[in-house]
Protein backbone atom coordinates (compact mmCIF):
# COMPACT_ATOMS: atom_id res chain seq x y z
CA UNK A 1 0.00 0.00 0.00
CA UNK A 2 1.33 3.38 -0.97
CA UNK A 3 1.75 5.96 1.82
CA UNK A 4 -0.78 8.16 0.12
CA UNK A 5 -3.44 5.42 0.07
CA UNK A 6 -2.65 4.58 3.71
CA UNK A 7 -3.10 8.22 4.67
CA UNK A 8 -6.44 8.37 2.85
CA UNK A 9 -7.65 5.24 4.60
CA UNK A 10 -6.59 6.71 7.93
CA UNK A 11 -8.44 10.01 7.31
CA UNK A 12 -11.53 8.14 6.20
CA UNK A 13 -11.48 5.90 9.27
CA UNK A 14 -10.83 8.82 11.60
CA UNK A 15 -13.69 10.91 10.24
CA UNK A 16 -16.08 7.96 10.36
CA UNK A 17 -15.21 7.36 14.03
CA UNK A 18 -15.48 11.05 14.93
CA UNK A 19 -18.90 11.57 13.32
CA UNK A 20 -20.12 8.36 14.91
CA UNK A 21 -18.98 9.46 18.36
CA UNK A 22 -20.70 12.85 17.93
CA UNK A 23 -23.93 11.13 16.91
CA UNK A 24 -23.64 8.89 19.95
CA UNK A 25 -23.12 11.87 22.27
CA UNK A 26 -26.15 13.62 20.78
CA UNK A 27 -28.34 10.61 21.42
CA UNK A 28 -26.94 9.81 24.84
CA UNK A 29 -27.75 13.27 26.25
CA UNK A 30 -31.42 12.33 26.25
CA UNK A 31 -30.78 9.05 28.00
CA UNK A 32 -28.40 10.68 30.48
CA UNK A 33 -31.09 13.18 31.43
CA UNK A 34 -33.71 10.46 31.70
CA UNK A 35 -31.41 8.27 33.78
CA UNK A 36 -30.38 11.14 36.02
CA UNK A 37 -33.98 12.11 36.64
CA UNK A 38 -34.93 8.50 37.27
CA UNK A 39 -32.15 8.04 39.83
CA UNK A 40 -32.92 11.22 41.75
CA UNK A 41 -36.66 11.43 41.35
CA UNK A 42 -37.78 7.91 40.56
CA UNK A 43 -38.30 7.00 44.19
CA UNK A 44 -40.53 10.00 44.78
CA UNK A 45 -42.85 9.22 41.89
CA UNK A 46 -45.54 7.33 43.72
CA UNK A 47 -49.29 7.40 44.19
CA UNK A 48 -49.03 10.32 46.63
CA UNK A 49 -47.17 12.41 44.09
CA UNK A 50 -50.17 12.33 41.78
CA UNK A 51 -52.91 12.61 44.39
CA UNK A 52 -51.68 14.70 47.37
CA UNK A 53 -51.13 18.40 47.86
CA UNK A 54 -47.66 19.70 48.75
CA UNK A 55 -46.96 19.53 52.48
CA UNK A 56 -45.34 22.23 54.64
CA UNK A 57 -41.57 22.23 55.05
CA UNK A 58 -40.43 19.65 57.51
CA UNK A 59 -43.14 17.13 56.87
CA UNK A 60 -42.26 14.34 54.47
CA UNK A 61 -44.54 12.95 51.80
CA UNK A 62 -47.08 15.00 49.95
CA UNK A 63 -47.38 15.39 46.20
CA UNK A 64 -48.00 17.75 43.37
CA UNK A 65 -51.59 16.95 42.45
CA UNK A 66 -52.45 20.66 42.31
CA UNK A 67 -49.56 21.36 39.94
CA UNK A 68 -50.54 18.48 37.66
CA UNK A 69 -54.13 19.68 37.52
CA UNK A 70 -52.99 23.30 37.08
CA UNK A 71 -50.76 22.34 34.16
CA UNK A 72 -53.55 20.30 32.61
CA UNK A 73 -56.03 23.18 32.88
CA UNK A 74 -53.62 25.70 31.38
CA UNK A 75 -52.64 23.36 28.55
CA UNK A 76 -56.31 22.80 27.80
CA UNK A 77 -56.90 26.55 27.60
CA UNK A 78 -53.77 27.02 25.51
CA UNK A 79 -54.90 24.34 23.07
CA UNK A 80 -58.41 25.78 22.82
CA UNK A 81 -56.96 29.22 22.18
CA UNK A 82 -53.83 28.56 20.12
CA UNK A 83 -54.79 25.58 17.96
CA UNK A 84 -57.87 27.05 16.21
CA UNK A 85 -56.05 30.28 15.42
CA UNK A 86 -53.01 28.43 14.12
CA UNK A 87 -55.13 25.91 12.21
CA UNK A 88 -57.42 28.38 10.44
CA UNK A 89 -54.54 30.77 9.85
CA UNK A 90 -52.68 27.93 8.17
CA UNK A 91 -55.69 27.19 5.96
CA UNK A 92 -55.75 30.82 4.91
CA UNK A 93 -52.02 30.78 4.15
CA UNK A 94 -52.01 27.51 2.26
CA UNK A 95 -55.28 27.82 0.36
CA UNK A 96 -56.36 31.43 0.00
CA UNK A 97 -53.60 33.99 0.34
CA UNK A 98 -51.46 35.39 -2.41
CA UNK A 99 -47.73 34.91 -2.21
CA UNK A 100 -46.98 38.35 -0.74
CA UNK A 101 -49.43 38.06 2.14
CA UNK A 102 -48.29 34.51 2.78
CA UNK A 103 -44.69 35.66 2.90
CA UNK A 104 -45.38 38.30 5.55
CA UNK A 105 -47.63 36.11 7.69
CA UNK A 106 -45.14 33.25 7.54
CA UNK A 107 -42.28 35.56 8.41
CA UNK A 108 -44.21 37.04 11.32
CA UNK A 109 -45.09 33.56 12.57
CA UNK A 110 -41.44 32.54 12.44
CA UNK A 111 -40.47 35.65 14.38
CA UNK A 112 -43.19 35.01 16.94
CA UNK A 113 -41.88 31.49 17.27
CA UNK A 114 -38.47 32.95 18.05
CA UNK A 115 -39.68 35.42 20.69
CA UNK A 116 -38.15 34.33 24.02
CA UNK A 117 -40.78 32.70 26.17
CA UNK A 118 -40.07 35.09 29.03
CA UNK A 119 -41.06 37.99 26.76
CA UNK A 120 -44.31 36.18 25.97
CA UNK A 121 -44.80 35.98 29.74
CA UNK A 122 -44.29 39.71 30.23
CA UNK A 123 -46.65 40.44 27.37
CA UNK A 124 -49.38 38.22 28.85
CA UNK A 125 -48.74 39.86 32.22
CA UNK A 126 -49.28 43.31 30.73
CA UNK A 127 -52.34 42.28 28.78
CA UNK A 128 -54.20 39.97 31.13
CA UNK A 129 -52.72 40.02 34.63
CA UNK A 130 -52.09 43.73 35.14
CA UNK A 131 -55.51 45.09 34.08
CA UNK A 132 -57.39 42.60 36.25
CA UNK A 133 -54.86 42.76 39.12
CA UNK A 134 -54.98 38.98 39.33
CA UNK A 135 -52.63 36.12 38.48
CA UNK A 136 -54.73 33.34 37.07
CA UNK A 137 -55.06 30.05 35.22
CA UNK A 138 -56.59 32.05 32.35
CA UNK A 139 -53.51 34.25 32.04
CA UNK A 140 -51.21 31.20 32.08
CA UNK A 141 -53.30 29.46 29.42
CA UNK A 142 -53.27 32.63 27.32
CA UNK A 143 -49.47 32.89 27.46
CA UNK A 144 -49.01 29.22 26.50
CA UNK A 145 -51.64 29.56 23.77
CA UNK A 146 -49.73 32.47 22.23
CA UNK A 147 -46.73 30.18 21.94
CA UNK A 148 -48.78 27.43 20.31
CA UNK A 149 -50.08 29.68 17.52
CA UNK A 150 -46.94 29.92 15.36
CA UNK A 151 -45.94 26.29 15.89
CA UNK A 152 -49.37 24.99 14.88
CA UNK A 153 -49.65 27.46 12.03
CA UNK A 154 -46.33 26.75 10.35
CA UNK A 155 -46.46 22.97 10.54
CA UNK A 156 -50.15 22.74 9.61
CA UNK A 157 -49.44 24.93 6.60
CA UNK A 158 -46.61 22.63 5.52
CA UNK A 159 -48.88 19.58 5.67
CA UNK A 160 -51.69 21.34 3.79
CA UNK A 161 -49.26 22.38 1.07
CA UNK A 162 -48.17 18.75 0.84
CA UNK A 163 -51.63 17.73 -0.40
CA UNK A 164 -51.24 17.25 -4.18
CA UNK A 165 -52.96 19.86 -6.34
CA UNK A 166 -54.81 17.32 -8.52
CA UNK A 167 -56.96 16.47 -5.48
CA UNK A 168 -58.08 20.10 -5.23
CA UNK A 169 -58.87 20.12 -8.92
CA UNK A 170 -60.79 16.85 -8.68
CA UNK A 171 -63.06 18.21 -5.95
CA UNK A 172 -63.60 21.54 -7.65
CA UNK A 173 -64.35 19.85 -10.98
CA UNK A 174 -67.18 18.01 -9.21
CA UNK A 175 -68.77 21.29 -8.24
CA UNK A 176 -67.33 21.64 -4.75
CA UNK A 177 -66.84 25.20 -3.57
CA UNK A 178 -63.43 26.24 -2.33
CA UNK A 179 -64.42 25.81 1.31
CA UNK A 180 -66.11 22.46 0.66
CA UNK A 181 -62.95 21.27 -1.08
CA UNK A 182 -60.87 22.25 1.93
CA UNK A 183 -63.23 20.75 4.48
CA UNK A 184 -63.99 17.47 2.71
CA UNK A 185 -60.79 16.68 0.82
CA UNK A 186 -57.74 18.69 1.78
CA UNK A 187 -57.97 18.68 5.57
CA UNK A 188 -58.94 14.97 5.69
CA UNK A 189 -55.99 14.18 3.41
CA UNK A 190 -53.62 16.05 5.74
CA UNK A 191 -55.22 15.17 9.08
CA UNK A 192 -52.42 12.92 10.32
CA UNK A 193 -49.89 15.65 9.75
CA UNK A 194 -52.11 18.28 11.35
CA UNK A 195 -52.72 16.10 14.39
CA UNK A 196 -48.98 15.57 14.72
CA UNK A 197 -48.39 19.31 14.46
CA UNK A 198 -50.87 19.97 17.26
CA UNK A 199 -49.36 17.30 19.51
CA UNK A 200 -45.85 18.63 18.96
CA UNK A 201 -46.98 22.18 19.73
CA UNK A 202 -48.63 20.86 22.87
CA UNK A 203 -45.50 19.00 23.95
CA UNK A 204 -43.42 22.07 23.22
CA UNK A 205 -45.35 24.37 25.58
CA UNK A 206 -46.04 21.71 28.23
CA UNK A 207 -42.58 22.29 29.68
CA UNK A 208 -42.53 26.09 29.46
CA UNK A 209 -41.75 27.81 32.75
CA UNK A 210 -40.97 31.42 31.97
CA UNK A 211 -44.39 32.47 30.59
CA UNK A 212 -46.05 31.04 33.69
CA UNK A 213 -43.91 32.88 36.25
CA UNK A 214 -45.73 36.17 35.62
CA UNK A 215 -49.12 34.80 34.75
CA UNK A 216 -50.07 31.73 36.75
CA UNK A 217 -47.57 32.57 39.51
CA UNK A 218 -47.85 29.39 41.56
CA UNK A 219 -49.89 28.05 44.44
CA UNK A 220 -49.35 25.57 47.27
CA UNK A 221 -53.02 24.62 47.25
CA UNK A 222 -55.79 23.76 44.83
CA UNK A 223 -56.73 26.61 42.53
CA UNK A 224 -60.52 26.78 42.23
CA UNK A 225 -61.98 27.88 38.91
CA UNK A 226 -59.96 29.74 36.33
CA UNK A 227 -59.27 33.13 37.90
CA UNK A 228 -56.85 32.34 40.70
CA UNK A 229 -53.11 31.79 40.80
CA UNK A 230 -52.36 28.16 40.10
CA UNK A 231 -49.50 25.76 40.50
CA UNK A 232 -47.96 24.10 37.45
CA UNK A 233 -45.32 21.41 37.07
CA UNK A 234 -42.59 23.54 35.48
CA UNK A 235 -42.94 26.38 38.01
CA UNK A 236 -43.08 23.84 40.83
CA UNK A 237 -39.77 22.39 39.62
CA UNK A 238 -38.27 25.87 39.55
CA UNK A 239 -39.46 26.75 43.06
CA UNK A 240 -38.63 23.41 44.64
CA UNK A 241 -35.21 23.09 43.04
CA UNK A 242 -34.17 26.51 44.38
CA UNK A 243 -35.39 25.81 47.93
CA UNK A 244 -32.84 24.66 50.52
CA UNK A 245 -34.67 21.47 51.52
CA UNK A 246 -33.62 17.98 50.45
CA UNK A 247 -37.19 16.74 50.44
CA UNK A 248 -38.21 19.49 48.02
CA UNK A 249 -35.25 18.66 45.78
CA UNK A 250 -36.45 15.08 45.53
CA UNK A 251 -39.94 16.29 44.66
CA UNK A 252 -38.49 18.60 41.99
CA UNK A 253 -36.61 15.66 40.43
CA UNK A 254 -39.80 13.63 40.45
CA UNK A 255 -41.75 16.45 38.81
CA UNK A 256 -39.04 16.76 36.17
CA UNK A 257 -39.23 13.06 35.47
CA UNK A 258 -43.01 13.12 35.16
CA UNK A 259 -42.92 16.13 32.85
CA UNK A 260 -40.22 14.66 30.64
CA UNK A 261 -41.97 11.30 30.36
CA UNK A 262 -45.21 13.09 29.47
CA UNK A 263 -43.50 15.04 26.70
CA UNK A 264 -41.69 11.96 25.41
CA UNK A 265 -44.92 10.01 25.28
CA UNK A 266 -46.65 12.80 23.32
CA UNK A 267 -43.75 12.91 20.89
CA UNK A 268 -43.76 9.16 20.40
CA UNK A 269 -47.54 9.13 19.84
CA UNK A 270 -47.19 11.98 17.35
CA UNK A 271 -44.50 10.13 15.38
CA UNK A 272 -46.54 6.94 15.46
CA UNK A 273 -49.55 8.76 13.98
CA UNK A 274 -47.39 10.22 11.25
CA UNK A 275 -45.58 6.99 10.42
CA UNK A 276 -48.84 5.11 9.89
CA UNK A 277 -48.39 6.69 6.49
CA UNK A 278 -49.41 9.91 4.87
CA UNK A 279 -52.85 9.24 3.50
CA UNK A 280 -51.94 10.57 0.09
CA UNK A 281 -49.12 9.10 -1.98
CA UNK A 282 -46.80 11.83 -3.20
CA UNK A 283 -46.40 11.82 -6.92
Amino acid sequence: MSPRLRWRKFVSGFMLTMTGVCALVAVSVLFLILGYLAIHGGASVNWNFFTKLPVPVGETGGGMANAILGSAKMLLLATLFGVPIGFFGAIYLAEFSGSTTAFFVRYAADLLNGVPSIVIGIFAYGLVVHPFKQYSTLAGGFALGLMMIPITLRSTEEFLRGVPNPLREAAMALGASKWKTIATVIVPAAYRGILTAILLAFARVAGETAPLLFTALGNQFWSPGWTHPTASLPVMIYTYALAPYDDWHRQAWAAGLVLLVLILVINIVARAILSRGIAVPRS
Binding site: P166, R168, L174
Partner: protein, 275 residues
Amino acid sequence: MQASVRPALSVNLPPIATSALARETPEALAMRMTISKLDFFYGPKQTLFDVSMGIAVNKVTSLIGPSGCGKSTLLRTLNRMYETIRGARLRGEILLDGQSILAQDVTALRRRVGMVFQRPNPFPKSIFDNVAYGLKINGSKLPISDAVEKSLRHAALWDEVKDHLHKSAYELSGGQQQRLCIARALAVEPEVLLLDEPCSALDPISTAKIEELLVQLKDICTITIVTHNMQQAARVSDFTAFLLTGQLIEFSPTPQLFTTPGDPRTEAYITGRFG
Protein backbone atom coordinates in the same frame (compact mmCIF):
# COMPACT_ATOMS: atom_id res chain seq x y z
CA MET B 1 -82.31 19.85 -14.60
CA GLN B 2 -81.91 20.17 -18.30
CA ALA B 3 -79.87 17.03 -18.58
CA SER B 4 -82.96 14.87 -18.59
CA VAL B 5 -84.57 16.82 -21.41
CA ARG B 6 -81.55 16.85 -23.69
CA PRO B 7 -82.88 19.48 -26.05
CA ALA B 8 -81.67 19.44 -29.60
CA LEU B 9 -80.63 23.01 -29.95
CA SER B 10 -80.09 24.68 -33.23
CA VAL B 11 -77.64 27.45 -32.62
CA ASN B 12 -75.85 29.68 -35.01
CA LEU B 13 -72.58 27.98 -35.53
CA PRO B 14 -69.52 29.70 -36.81
CA PRO B 15 -68.82 28.79 -40.44
CA ILE B 16 -65.92 26.42 -39.87
CA ALA B 17 -67.91 24.12 -37.61
CA THR B 18 -71.07 24.30 -39.68
CA SER B 19 -69.39 23.30 -42.88
CA ALA B 20 -67.52 20.46 -41.29
CA LEU B 21 -70.48 18.99 -39.50
CA ALA B 22 -73.17 19.63 -42.05
CA ARG B 23 -71.45 17.59 -44.71
CA GLU B 24 -71.33 14.33 -42.85
CA THR B 25 -73.86 14.30 -40.05
CA PRO B 26 -76.71 16.73 -40.29
CA GLU B 27 -78.17 15.65 -36.97
CA ALA B 28 -74.95 16.67 -35.30
CA LEU B 29 -76.13 20.24 -35.56
CA ALA B 30 -77.58 19.63 -32.11
CA MET B 31 -74.81 21.22 -30.12
CA ARG B 32 -74.29 20.69 -26.43
CA MET B 33 -71.72 23.45 -26.25
CA THR B 34 -70.76 26.24 -28.61
CA ILE B 35 -67.56 28.20 -28.42
CA SER B 36 -67.41 31.46 -30.35
CA LYS B 37 -64.55 33.84 -30.91
CA LEU B 38 -62.69 32.66 -27.84
CA ASP B 39 -59.48 34.43 -26.88
CA PHE B 40 -57.62 33.29 -23.80
CA PHE B 41 -54.87 34.97 -21.81
CA TYR B 42 -52.48 33.93 -19.07
CA GLY B 43 -51.56 37.36 -17.76
CA PRO B 44 -50.28 39.30 -20.75
CA LYS B 45 -49.69 36.16 -22.83
CA GLN B 46 -52.43 35.16 -25.23
CA THR B 47 -52.71 31.38 -25.65
CA LEU B 48 -55.93 30.97 -27.65
CA PHE B 49 -56.84 33.08 -30.68
CA ASP B 50 -60.37 33.42 -31.99
CA VAL B 51 -61.40 29.79 -31.50
CA SER B 52 -64.92 28.90 -32.61
CA MET B 53 -66.33 25.39 -32.60
CA GLY B 54 -69.22 23.27 -31.40
CA ILE B 55 -69.37 20.19 -29.20
CA ALA B 56 -72.05 17.91 -30.64
CA VAL B 57 -74.56 16.16 -28.40
CA ASN B 58 -73.75 12.52 -27.59
CA LYS B 59 -70.63 12.51 -29.71
CA VAL B 60 -66.95 12.30 -28.87
CA THR B 61 -65.01 15.38 -29.88
CA SER B 62 -61.26 15.24 -29.62
CA LEU B 63 -58.76 18.05 -29.45
CA ILE B 64 -55.34 17.31 -30.87
CA GLY B 65 -52.20 19.27 -31.51
CA PRO B 66 -48.56 19.51 -30.43
CA SER B 67 -47.59 20.34 -26.83
CA GLY B 68 -48.38 23.91 -25.93
CA CYS B 69 -50.93 24.36 -28.72
CA GLY B 70 -53.64 25.29 -26.24
CA LYS B 71 -55.75 22.13 -26.36
CA SER B 72 -55.75 21.63 -22.58
CA THR B 73 -56.41 25.33 -22.05
CA LEU B 74 -59.39 25.13 -24.39
CA LEU B 75 -60.71 22.11 -22.48
CA ARG B 76 -60.30 23.90 -19.16
CA THR B 77 -62.34 26.86 -20.31
CA LEU B 78 -65.36 24.58 -20.84
CA ASN B 79 -65.85 24.00 -17.10
CA ARG B 80 -64.08 27.20 -16.08
CA MET B 81 -61.26 25.31 -14.34
CA TYR B 82 -58.93 27.97 -15.72
CA GLU B 83 -60.27 30.27 -13.01
CA THR B 84 -58.13 28.52 -10.39
CA ILE B 85 -55.09 30.08 -12.04
CA ARG B 86 -54.31 33.65 -11.12
CA GLY B 87 -54.24 36.08 -14.03
CA ALA B 88 -56.11 33.79 -16.42
CA ARG B 89 -58.97 35.40 -18.34
CA LEU B 90 -60.93 34.88 -21.51
CA ARG B 91 -62.81 36.88 -24.07
CA GLY B 92 -65.58 35.51 -26.25
CA GLU B 93 -68.55 33.31 -25.62
CA ILE B 94 -69.11 29.74 -24.51
CA LEU B 95 -72.64 28.39 -24.43
CA LEU B 96 -73.94 25.27 -22.72
CA ASP B 97 -77.41 24.35 -23.96
CA GLY B 98 -77.71 27.84 -25.29
CA GLN B 99 -76.78 29.63 -22.07
CA SER B 100 -73.52 31.40 -21.39
CA ILE B 101 -71.37 29.42 -18.97
CA LEU B 102 -69.77 32.62 -17.75
CA ALA B 103 -73.09 33.90 -16.46
CA GLN B 104 -73.89 30.91 -14.30
CA ASP B 105 -72.69 29.86 -10.89
CA VAL B 106 -69.39 28.06 -11.34
CA THR B 107 -70.17 25.19 -8.97
CA ALA B 108 -73.48 24.56 -10.75
CA LEU B 109 -71.69 24.61 -14.10
CA ARG B 110 -69.10 22.07 -12.97
CA ARG B 111 -71.85 19.67 -11.91
CA ARG B 112 -73.09 19.76 -15.50
CA VAL B 113 -69.63 19.63 -17.08
CA GLY B 114 -67.52 16.95 -15.40
CA MET B 115 -63.79 16.46 -15.78
CA VAL B 116 -61.25 13.65 -15.71
CA PHE B 117 -57.60 14.56 -15.39
CA GLN B 118 -54.30 13.48 -16.85
CA ARG B 119 -53.21 11.44 -13.86
CA PRO B 120 -55.69 9.39 -11.87
CA ASN B 121 -56.48 11.53 -8.81
CA PRO B 122 -58.82 9.59 -6.54
CA PHE B 123 -59.41 11.07 -3.09
CA PRO B 124 -57.74 9.36 -0.12
CA LYS B 125 -61.06 7.74 0.69
CA SER B 126 -62.74 4.41 0.00
CA ILE B 127 -63.85 3.42 -3.49
CA PHE B 128 -67.46 3.98 -2.47
CA ASP B 129 -66.80 7.39 -0.94
CA ASN B 130 -64.92 8.52 -4.02
CA VAL B 131 -67.91 7.88 -6.26
CA ALA B 132 -70.36 9.18 -3.67
CA TYR B 133 -68.41 12.40 -3.13
CA GLY B 134 -70.11 14.47 -5.82
CA LEU B 135 -73.54 13.27 -4.73
CA LYS B 136 -72.86 14.05 -1.10
CA ILE B 137 -71.54 17.56 -1.60
CA ASN B 138 -74.42 18.36 -3.92
CA GLY B 139 -76.91 17.15 -1.33
CA SER B 140 -78.38 14.58 -3.69
CA LYS B 141 -81.69 13.06 -2.65
CA LEU B 142 -81.08 9.87 -4.64
CA PRO B 143 -80.27 6.69 -2.75
CA ILE B 144 -76.51 7.03 -2.84
CA SER B 145 -75.55 3.35 -3.03
CA ASP B 146 -77.72 2.81 -6.13
CA ALA B 147 -76.16 5.81 -7.81
CA VAL B 148 -72.67 4.58 -6.91
CA GLU B 149 -73.36 1.16 -8.39
CA LYS B 150 -74.80 2.71 -11.55
CA SER B 151 -71.77 4.96 -12.03
CA LEU B 152 -69.31 2.14 -11.42
CA ARG B 153 -71.18 0.01 -13.97
CA HIS B 154 -71.04 2.85 -16.48
CA ALA B 155 -67.32 3.09 -15.89
CA ALA B 156 -66.95 -0.68 -16.40
CA LEU B 157 -65.44 -1.03 -12.95
CA TRP B 158 -68.31 -2.55 -10.97
CA ASP B 159 -67.39 -6.21 -11.45
CA GLU B 160 -63.82 -5.57 -10.37
CA VAL B 161 -64.62 -3.66 -7.18
CA LYS B 162 -68.11 -4.70 -6.06
CA ASP B 163 -66.75 -6.94 -3.29
CA HIS B 164 -64.45 -4.36 -1.76
CA LEU B 165 -66.16 -1.01 -2.11
CA HIS B 166 -64.84 0.06 1.26
CA LYS B 167 -61.17 -0.45 0.49
CA SER B 168 -58.98 2.55 -0.14
CA ALA B 169 -59.03 3.79 -3.72
CA TYR B 170 -55.23 3.69 -3.67
CA GLU B 171 -55.29 -0.09 -3.63
CA LEU B 172 -56.54 -0.09 -7.21
CA SER B 173 -54.22 -0.19 -10.22
CA GLY B 174 -53.59 2.99 -12.19
CA GLY B 175 -56.08 2.03 -14.90
CA GLN B 176 -58.72 1.12 -12.34
CA GLN B 177 -58.09 4.41 -10.52
CA GLN B 178 -58.69 6.30 -13.75
CA ARG B 179 -61.94 4.44 -14.36
CA LEU B 180 -62.86 5.23 -10.76
CA CYS B 181 -62.29 8.90 -11.53
CA ILE B 182 -64.57 8.53 -14.54
CA ALA B 183 -67.21 6.89 -12.34
CA ARG B 184 -66.81 9.70 -9.82
CA ALA B 185 -67.42 12.27 -12.55
CA LEU B 186 -70.39 10.33 -13.96
CA ALA B 187 -72.08 10.03 -10.57
CA VAL B 188 -73.41 13.58 -10.69
CA GLU B 189 -74.84 12.85 -14.15
CA PRO B 190 -73.04 15.55 -16.09
CA GLU B 191 -74.20 16.53 -19.55
CA VAL B 192 -70.63 16.88 -20.75
CA LEU B 193 -67.56 14.92 -19.71
CA LEU B 194 -64.17 16.52 -20.34
CA LEU B 195 -61.09 14.29 -20.37
CA ASP B 196 -57.62 15.80 -20.31
CA GLU B 197 -55.23 13.20 -21.75
CA PRO B 198 -56.84 10.53 -19.55
CA CYS B 199 -54.56 7.73 -20.75
CA SER B 200 -51.19 9.44 -20.73
CA ALA B 201 -50.19 7.80 -17.43
CA LEU B 202 -51.61 4.36 -18.29
CA ASP B 203 -50.37 1.16 -19.88
CA PRO B 204 -51.75 0.01 -23.28
CA ILE B 205 -54.27 -2.46 -21.82
CA SER B 206 -55.76 0.07 -19.43
CA THR B 207 -55.79 2.59 -22.28
CA ALA B 208 -57.74 0.19 -24.49
CA LYS B 209 -60.31 -0.31 -21.73
CA ILE B 210 -60.82 3.40 -21.32
CA GLU B 211 -61.14 3.97 -25.04
CA GLU B 212 -63.76 1.24 -25.26
CA LEU B 213 -65.55 2.85 -22.36
CA LEU B 214 -65.61 6.29 -23.97
CA VAL B 215 -67.36 4.94 -27.03
CA GLN B 216 -70.05 3.39 -24.79
CA LEU B 217 -70.42 6.52 -22.69
CA LYS B 218 -71.53 8.55 -25.69
CA ASP B 219 -75.03 7.31 -25.06
CA ILE B 220 -75.28 8.98 -21.69
CA CYS B 221 -73.21 12.10 -22.15
CA THR B 222 -71.31 14.29 -24.52
CA ILE B 223 -67.57 13.76 -24.46
CA THR B 224 -64.64 16.02 -25.20
CA ILE B 225 -61.17 14.55 -24.97
CA VAL B 226 -57.75 16.10 -25.24
CA THR B 227 -55.13 13.69 -26.48
CA HIS B 228 -51.60 13.85 -27.77
CA ASN B 229 -52.13 10.46 -29.33
CA MET B 230 -53.50 10.79 -32.86
CA GLN B 231 -54.40 7.12 -33.15
CA GLN B 232 -56.50 7.52 -30.03
CA ALA B 233 -58.35 10.48 -31.51
CA ALA B 234 -58.94 8.48 -34.67
CA ARG B 235 -60.21 5.46 -32.73
CA VAL B 236 -62.61 7.09 -30.30
CA SER B 237 -63.85 10.37 -31.67
CA ASP B 238 -66.52 11.47 -34.10
CA PHE B 239 -65.10 14.94 -34.57
CA THR B 240 -61.56 16.16 -34.29
CA ALA B 241 -60.24 19.65 -33.80
CA PHE B 242 -56.61 20.36 -34.64
CA LEU B 243 -55.01 23.25 -32.81
CA LEU B 244 -51.66 24.87 -33.46
CA THR B 245 -50.13 27.75 -31.48
CA GLY B 246 -53.49 28.68 -30.01
CA GLN B 247 -55.42 28.69 -33.26
CA LEU B 248 -58.04 26.25 -34.42
CA ILE B 249 -56.63 25.09 -37.74
CA GLU B 250 -59.19 22.52 -38.69
CA PHE B 251 -62.34 21.04 -37.23
CA SER B 252 -63.88 18.14 -39.14
CA PRO B 253 -65.48 14.75 -38.77
CA THR B 254 -62.67 12.48 -37.62
CA PRO B 255 -62.39 10.23 -40.71
CA GLN B 256 -62.23 13.29 -42.92
CA LEU B 257 -59.58 15.04 -40.86
CA PHE B 258 -57.32 12.02 -40.87
CA THR B 259 -57.83 10.97 -44.51
CA THR B 260 -58.35 14.20 -46.42
CA PRO B 261 -57.19 17.05 -44.22
CA GLY B 262 -58.22 20.43 -45.54
CA ASP B 263 -55.17 22.32 -44.36
CA PRO B 264 -51.52 21.59 -45.17
CA ARG B 265 -50.59 22.13 -41.50
CA THR B 266 -53.04 19.44 -40.40
CA GLU B 267 -51.57 17.11 -42.97
CA ALA B 268 -48.06 17.88 -41.81
CA TYR B 269 -49.03 17.15 -38.20
CA ILE B 270 -50.94 13.93 -38.77
CA THR B 271 -48.25 12.54 -41.02
CA GLY B 272 -45.73 13.18 -38.26
CA ARG B 273 -43.75 15.96 -39.83
CA PHE B 274 -43.78 17.94 -36.58
CA GLY B 275 -45.12 17.77 -33.05
